[in-house]
């Protein structure tokens, strides 16, 4: 029997056992769709996080006070003890290193913002004029903190705050009270929305000296450093670490992390997560494979006398094996194709419902899902097909 006839005849069989075939195809399709959707979610999350993190700036190096036991971790891991504080003088010293393009010291705190009877607790960032280019922030009105004017009481408002405090007026040039001091609004940030769980529309930015005064501290939370180029990132990291060690009496009590290292960590973790969920989804495919095997075994038992007839008509064992094999192939092909379509449709639905999440199924996952479906189908049919081919023709004809 040639290939075309084998495929046609087995397709006819698949179509005529409608309910049975539909159920298997459905099981297969759900498995494949699960792989596609879950990897779309996993990879979407990875792209989202990586994208958010990249948008923080380019060629960034972060300096944190204290030495975390494990270097290269997420900034939040640096909650260990701080033997020696990071100071504004440290930051100014770093700015003079040759690999450093610019630097912005950072202090973060919460204070009460009041104006015209309105009152609100806001997150306050204390920094310098360099923060704007380093963090790739944009202004919608006015100007950022003026260069070299750390002592002038300026404030930059997040866009939501600007709307809330000055609903019908021009905020730039107005006076506003933060804590106990009065500030002059110099600019308004462009709406940016949430970034890394931090809503920059609801912050205010003031000069670092005022921030230290406000929070009654002379230490820094972070120093953001931008290296001159991509190749300068590692040298900059080493130079900063070295310089601060010298300044801190030879003690390595700061943590220097590159943006790339953090990015790579996120990327790695989320890729592993995606692989993990793909693996879990693949289990459902294996279950579908077992279902195919079971149904094919039942089919062999049901069609015993038919197999006997084919043998009596002179079909060699190989033909019979191939017929059952082709039947499983059709089922898993259909399951794979429908599952692929279903998965992509669901991913599209997710992207529609959550536009910020780029839930595109990665190609390798779609391919692996469909291939696994076909492969499990084929493997699952091996035993039933072999059993059918081995049947004794005389016994088979009598239906035994």
């Amino acid at each position: 029997m040639n290939l075309r006839d084998t495929l046609t005849l087995s397709l006819q069989t698949v179509v005529s056992y409608r309910t049975r075939s539909l159920l298997i195809v459905l099981a297969m399709a759900l498995g494949v769709a699960a792989v596609v959707v879950l990897t779309a979610l996993g990879d979407g999350a990875r792209r989202y996080v990586v994208g958010q993190f990249s948008s923080l700036g380019t060629n960034l190096v972060f300096v944190l006070p204290g030495r975390a036991e494990t270097s290269g971790g997420f900034p939040g891991a640096a909650l260990g003890q701080t033997p020696r504080d990071l100071t504004l003088e440290d930051a100014r010293f770093i700015a003079h290193l040759p690999q450093v393009k610019r630097m912005a010291p950072l202090n973060v705190g919460v204070a009460e913002l009041t104006s015209g009877g309105r009152l609100r607790e806001v997150t306050v960032l204390g920094s310098t004029s360099e923060l704007l280019p380093i963090r790739h922030m944009k202004l919608s009105q006015g100007s950022f903190l003026a260069h070299g004017s750390e002592r002038s009481a300026q404030i930059v408002l997040g866009s939501t705050l600007a709307h809330e405090f000055f609903p019908d007026g021009e905020p730039v040039g107005q006076r506003i009270r933060l804590g106990d001091s009065r500030f002059l609004v110099s600019g308004v940030l462009a709406p940016q929305g949430e970034s890394m769980g931090f809503n920059s529309d609801e912050i205010v930015i003031i000069p670092i000296d005022y921030a230290q005064e406000l929070f009654n501290t002379n230490t820094l939370f972070r120093i953001l450093v931008e290296a001159r180029s991509r190749t300068d990132i590692e040298p900059a990291k080493a130079a900063i670490a070295h310089a601060l060690k010298l300044r801190h009496d030879g003690e390595e009590d700061v943590t220097v992390i590159t943006q790339d290292a953090i990015l790579a960590t996120f990327d790695r973790i989320l890729r592993a997560l995606t692989l993990g969920v793909a693996g879990i989804a693949a289990i459902s495919l294996a279950v579908a494979g077992i279902l195919v095997m079971n149904v094919m075994l039942v089919a062999v038992a049901q069609r015993t006398s038919e197999i006997g007839l084919l043998k009596a008509l002179g079909a060699p064992a190989a033909d019979i094996r191939r017929l059952f094999f082709a039947e499983a192939l059709w089922l898993s092909l259909a399951g794979g194709a429908i599952g692929y379509a279903l998965g992509n449709l669901s991913a599209w639905g997710i992207r529609l419902a959550y536009p910020t999440l780029p839930a595109w199924p990665p190609h390798w996952a779609s391919l692996a899902g469909v291939a696994t479906a076909i492969l499990t189908g084929i493997i699952a049919s091996l035993l039933p097909a072999a059993r059918a081919a081995r049947l004794d023709p005389v016994l088979a004809l009598s239906g035994k």
Binding site: M1, T13, S305, L309, K311, A312, G314, P316, L397
Partner: protein
């Protein structure tokens, strides 16, 4: 054409041995019309299965068309069955999912004949067996006589040298049974060797050679 020498076929039933065929010697010439009769359990169906290469004897020698087919592999036996043997069964054994025409086409498909030629030969067979208007009906929509005609058309589509029928009228009433026998006899007249297994005396008597079996042995062989 068919030469069986000292053929023995033993089945094991638990710890008991059943000699279904016990040293059978039989010669059937090309073009003969033979009936094999005997009570159930006499070994007549086993004999037909051995002749049709569906079953392999435990000992003895089987020559078909001058060549020894006793020890052929399963694949080779399948080829010989396809090319030289046609089977007609009591229960028709049609594939329920396939139409009459598709059932008749099956052996041509197994033989690997091109679709165009297949259609022509199936059409000719449908004509010859008066099934033209039933071509696209499934077996469930056919009468018993029509089903057996489809089965006979399928058995003869590759022009086998021997047609082996096991109780071909067993599931049919007397009138239809006679029609089917006349059809088979017509094929015999056209040159096909016809071997019919039956326990119906009247049916067996129509053959030109009568073989009687009992307990796995041939007890009478009359022409």
């Amino acid at each position: 054409m068919i030469r069986l020498t000292a053929i023995t076929r033993v089945f094991r039933m638990g710890d008991q041995e059943v000699r279904a065929l016990n040293g059978i010697d039989l010669d059937i010439a090309s073009g003969e019309y033979v009936s094999i009769m005997g009570p159930s359990g006499s070994g007549k169906s086993t004999l037909l299965n051995v002749i049709g290469l569906l079953d392999q004897p435990n000992s003895g020698r089987y020559e078909l068309d001058g060549s020894d087919v006793t020890d052929l592999s399963e694949t080779e036996r399948a080829r010989v069955r396809r090319e030289k043997i046609g089977f007609v069964f009591q229960s028709f054994h049609l594939v329920p999912r396939l139409t009459a025409a598709e059932n008749i086409e099956l052996p041509l498909m197994l033989e690997g004949i091109a679709p165009a030629e297949r259609t022509a030969r199936v059409d000719a067979a449908l004509d010859a067996f008066d099934l033209k208007d039933r071509a696209h009906h499934r077996p469930a929509e056919l009468s018993g006589g029509q089903r057996q005609r489809v089965a006979i058309a399928r058995a003869t589509i590759l022009r086998p040298t021997a047609l082996l029928a096991d109780e071909p009228t067993g599931n049919l009433d007397h009138r239809i049974g006679t029609e089917v026998m006349e059809l088979l006899e017509g094929l015999h007249h056209a040159g096909t060797t016809l071997i019919v297994v039956t326990h119906d005396r009247e049916l067996g008597a129509r053959a030109h050679r009568h073989i009687a079996m009992r307990d796995g042995e041939i007890v009478a062989d009359e022409k």
